[in-house]
Symmetry: C2
């Protein structure tokens, strides 16, 4: 049986997970693939760094160049993460003509075109299934399973930390700060948590999915991104009363009209309780994909963790090994540019529905003033919740808003914020009914 030699850079949590999965199921993979996968070298930070599974001592090196420069190694797995030294490592491996398998969403998001150009130049391949949604084969499904489709919309719960926090806020009626602190204590959120809860990680991931789906590499600077810091317990409750659940969604949607393009954005969104995405809870991820031929589909699974990520990494290794076995190294190239449009539509041009919560002084005429500003902007109100309060106090006022452009909404809210009776910055969340 043909041998394919593997090198890996990164021997911590995920790296040891890959090694462990290979130890457990490498024989089965060989039977399925007709190729035997052999680990030759694994570059680690330190021989004795803490790791959930042991790595064979004789495979370890502390010099990543030992991996990249080993002429016997066919495939290099990069699990270092980040956009610094990881970029140097990936480019060095590609330059040697080695296939690279990476889980590094930040790197792809920041430097995708440069990496793909480097791969093309040396005829090497670059696989990245593990970069989005952990163990869910979403990259393969978009690229191969749905190759006959245009993607009218992709909605992804792609950040497990945010989904864990929002799920607990809903289930327990808890406040964001309390759940976050508890999540950090139990290792479900990083310290500092910004990369996750401010939406940056989700931005990397939806950017990768959108790029693959629409055939041009999305500049991550053009992806409108909001996190979940401003969601409060009271919003979760009012959303529930109205039949909705709040989820942080990565969104990639075809926009028709005079200036067509693709909406690519990340923001907390009210989705109907009955929608299948609303029942995706805890650290689980899911992608809802609407293809023009296949219709509505959903992919669900663990979005992170040593084992789920290992499953995705090894599926890429298997594809790369089959390509090497068949002498077809670039059978599926890492990224194909095929776009009709390369335009990311600015959020201001996008039409949404909205949930808005104002803190207002409870006295006659406040609703009339707010409604007048919306009316002047031609923005329609579809429903109002005004819980009973005591006159003179600050009370919540919740409005559900019909389809309106984000620019018009932004301007109207700025005006309303200047009303003396409006006591805090309004909370504005978008609503998605998947129609």
């Amino acid at each position: 049986m043909q041998l394919v030699n593997l090198g890996m850079i990164g021997g911590g949590t995920v790296g040891s997970g890959v090694f462990h999965a290979w130890q457990k199921n490498g024989g089965l993979m060989a039977a399925r693939l007709g190729v035997k996968l052999v680990f030759r070298k694994i570059a680690v930070k330190a021989f004795d760094e803490p790791r959930p599974y042991p790595i064979a001592r004789n495979l370890m090196t502390t010099d990543w160049q030992d991996v990249v420069n080993d002429p016997a190694i066919h495939i290099v797995i990069e699990l270092v993460g980040g956009t610094g030294i990881a970029k140097t490592m990936v480019l060095a491996a590609l330059a040697q003509g080695k296939t690279v398998v990476t889980a590094n969403k930040a790197l792809l998001s920041a430097h995708g075109p440069e990496l793909f150009a480097a791969a093309a130049k040396s005829g090497a391949n670059l696989y990245y299934e593990a970069s989005v949604c952990g163990g869910i084969p979403i990259i393969k499904s978009l690229r191969e399973g749905f190759v006959a489709n245009q993607f009218s919309a992709i909605y992804g719960i792609v950040n497990g930390t945010c989904n864990y926090i929002l799920s607990r806020m809903k289930a327990e009626g808890a406040e964001f700060a309390d759940v976050l602190a508890d999540a950090q204590k139990h290792g479900y959120a990083e310290t500092p948590p910004d990369l996750d809860i401010d939406g940056h990680d989700a931005q990397h991931k939806i950017g990768i999915l959108a790029s693959l789906a629409h055939g041009f590499w999305a500049d991550h600077h053009a992806i409108h991104t909001e996190g979940i810091r401003e969601i409060s317990k009271i919003d979760m409750e009012f959303a529930g009363t109205l039949g909705y659940t709040i989820k942080l969604l990565g969104i990639a949607k075809q926009i028709a009209g005079k200036k067509p393009g693709v909406q690519i954005s990340v923001y907390p969104t009210l989705i109907p309780n009955a929608h299948v995405l609303a029942s995706v809870n805890g650290v689980f991820n899911a992608c809802f994909v609407r293809g023009d031929i296949v219709g509505d589909t959903l992919f669900y699974g663990r979005g992170a963790g040593k084992d789920a990520t290992a499953s995705a990494v090894l599926s890429d290794v298997a594809d790369a090994a089959l390509d090497l076995k068949n002498g077809a190294k670039l059978r599926v190239p890492p990224f194909v540019a095929h776009a009709n449009t390369r335009r990311i539509v600015p959020l201001d041009e996008i039409t949404s529905q909205y949930y808005v919560r104002f803190s207002v002084v409870d006295k006659p005429g406040v609703l009339a003033k707010i409604a007048a500003i919306f009316a002047a902007a031609k923005i329609g109100i579809s429903s109002v919740i005004q819980p009973e309060g005591h006159e003179g106090e600050s009370v919540p006022l919740i409005l559900m808003i019909h389809d309106a452009p984000n620019a018009a909404m932004r301007k109207a809210l700025a005006k309303i914020s200047r009303l003396p009776a409006v006591k805090a910055k309004p909370v504005m969340l978008r609503v998605e009914n998947f129609s």
Copy 2:
């Protein structure tokens, strides 16, 4: 750009769907694949048979041999269905060395090993993504995406007709016969409906998934199969009261123990309302896949219909075309035998939990007699629902039963059925808690 020529046998609903999808997105596929797909011939029953999308007249022939024998055709798509002439067609195409793409689950279920042997003999490939779960890329995901996994369990809602009927029974509190009749009137169920509602179609599909997952072709005669005819409105209601939803599941589960093997079966199952499979409604299909590395995953989408099926057919065509382009015709062979065990565990040996509904005469001592029979068989009762009745009348008595082997349960129910106070054949449904 390289050309790959396609022939198709079947130009009705699904065939015209494939042709339409290719007309719409063939250019996009060429850009993505670097291969141009060209339809050369399509064999139809009659030029003017009713079809939802038109097929170009000059491509049509009424003689399928024109397709199979055309030396310019590289890939033959078989959409005739059934196990008769379709088998002859597929074998003829394989014998000519052509790659075959099929949506024919009945054919694979009945003759898989013979077809794969024929493909191996002539070095041709046989793709079948569209045979299970329509547009959902479940075959590709099991075979490639999860190549590093052993599959501890697969639970599939794989028959859209049954799921449509059960969903409506639950939502409307309606009886099986009424929903079936309405479904037939509106084209959601065939006449006669036996293939779907007696579980045969689900049997074909779970057999294919189980075979792929476990590396031996499952003899469909060994798949225990029950349909949904005996589910009544009252069972749906009591299941709901207990926190469960009834779904027809195809199940493929690893069984450990002294005599290990694989459970492969189809039966209506009570699943917890909170489980993600419980919210799969209408004609939608879903597969819940538990891998030993990836953990729990779910795939959801349309399980049938001209467009979803076309998406799957064309994804197979794309894979085949890439293989042809790269001269790697068998990069992923149609089926790889790699089993440790080839044993399908008989249902009698499987341990389940159960919901049982008896119709009993409402008089003192009946529950005691039933409980005594279960106790003697060492079968534990976990809960009882006995709605208030009028003494002397026939009333329902619902028991939830702890883990017990199916054989013991079968024997105990036979004994209970012979009690004079038990007025009808007990309804016994299995319960799955996914633990």
